[in-house]
Symmetry: C2
Subunit: 310 residues, 2 copies
Amino acid sequence: MKPATAQKRIEGVLAPVITPFRRDLSPDVDRFVKHCRWLMRSGCAGLAVFGTNSEANSMAVEEKLELLEALVTGGVPAASLMPGTGHCALTDSVKMTREAVRMGCGGVLMLPPFYYKGVSDEGLFRNFSEVIERVGDERLRVYLYHIPPVSNVPITLELIERLLTRYPGVVAGAKDSSGDWSNTKAMLDRFKDRGFDVFPGSEVFLLDGLRAGGKGCITATGNVNPGPISDVFRNFRSAEADKLQAGITATRKIVQKVPMIPALKAITAHFGNDPEWKRLRPPLVELSAEQEKQVVTELRAAGFSMPSLG
Amino acid sequence: MKPATAQKRIEGVLAPVITPFRRDLSPDVDRFVKHCRWLMRSGCAGLAVFGTNSEANSMAVEEKLELLEALVTGGVPAASLMPGTGHCALTDSVKMTREAVRMGCGGVLMLPPFYYKGVSDEGLFRNFSEVIERVGDERLRVYLYHIPPVSNVPITLELIERLLTRYPGVVAGAKDSSGDWSNTKAMLDRFKDRGFDVFPGSEVFLLDGLRAGGKGCITATGNVNPGPISDVFRNFRSAEADKLQAGITATRKIVQKVPMIPALKAITAHFGNDPEWKRLRPPLVELSAEQEKQVVTELRAAGFSMPSLG
């Protein structure tokens, strides 16, 4: 493989984009592209499509590739895209990663294979290594996806060390969705000066992360609150920063009182006046009427809005 | 969907067949078919290809379909096949299940979608229901795969009740790999007289299971010890049954002292004199030399062999 060349990295707030489904549960391509364009207009620096909040693992590789192609042809800059490409099956990860690079995506966000639990760092190293070697393209930028509460398969600091040493430039960073600031801080302290960009998995840690050398955040709530979250990123050195952070943290806390993924869809449906957004693929289910009423009422009371959506 | 018609169900010992990989990690079709034919000659009543021990989730749908097609055209009776067809992605589960039915498989062993944790029974019901409705074929026999130590997503008794009530005849049974006999017993007591066939996920529970109304077992060790395990099934009402059970339990205990999946491959490689079998796909790794030596030495000391293999 040729060495990596210098290339502008994605920095700022990324939304792990929720995926709309039609009545027959097929991905709704047009609604998806529209939402992505709104997110980019509203402050997002990039889009981590096909993440946990995207119900990515509930879709086949071909369905995701169709959505990705539609985004790129639909005018969303490929350089701002960081699609999820990590699957349980090595061959699926390779296929999806190769296509993402071919389309010019700025990076890929890669889950470890997550079926087997208690696997060794050696096994995970081999997985990422095989994908990188098979794709074999100097444009590839891999962001490792650490989300132990869901995947149950952690990306350890030792694994990062080994991958970064072997593939500098290609292994470009991580999303840390552990919810454990001490882990995010440890990632930052150890790797931030080695071309490894750390993105906390929640805007709750955005300001702390930026002050410790992080590059932004990749956050669920970025789907519905991209403007104010991006304001923290743009103003993090200003006197207003802590106040802006307090505002987005307060909004986050309202949203996460109910199950996050159906909440994001219910909020988008409500504030965008488009009930089609509420639908989820099994095994996820929509919010109950009570949950929906709660989150909408509390957001309204807090002055929340989604400007120019719908 | 048309009602299910009477059809002979799979009963006895099934092996969740290990999958051989070539040097480039592609599935080794010929070796796979050869091993499957050996298992059927050696006492297996059926083959649960594409299970946990098969590294099924480490393969793409297309790779599995190629293997399944090769088995059927290679002379393994489709009626004895119970391929794993449950994926995280609804559309993958539908595709794989539809093809299995089209090829005439006796049943399918279906994992729940396993990425999201803590999902509701309602969400899981919708998943299985969508697959059954979309396949829409009266020949479909679904065996639910309960393996909480790996999937982290349990199949509860309440979920079985609901599925069995809605799809009698199609929902045909379960593999219980919880390792918790009290759960297996509860499944048997509640559902065994309602056309729901329970298979413990280890031969350690084979005799207890048969005495409580079970239909056999689907067990990892069936890959290497099919003859003696099948002897317990065939002789479970005889005076020899407990002694036969003690023998297969002793063998199992030797094997499971080391990681199971690489152990099965190392044993097959050693006793079949075919080192190609040792290879695994990431994230799994082969046994260490010490582990391999330990399991082989202890099996030899116990008089273990794999007759007519290799």
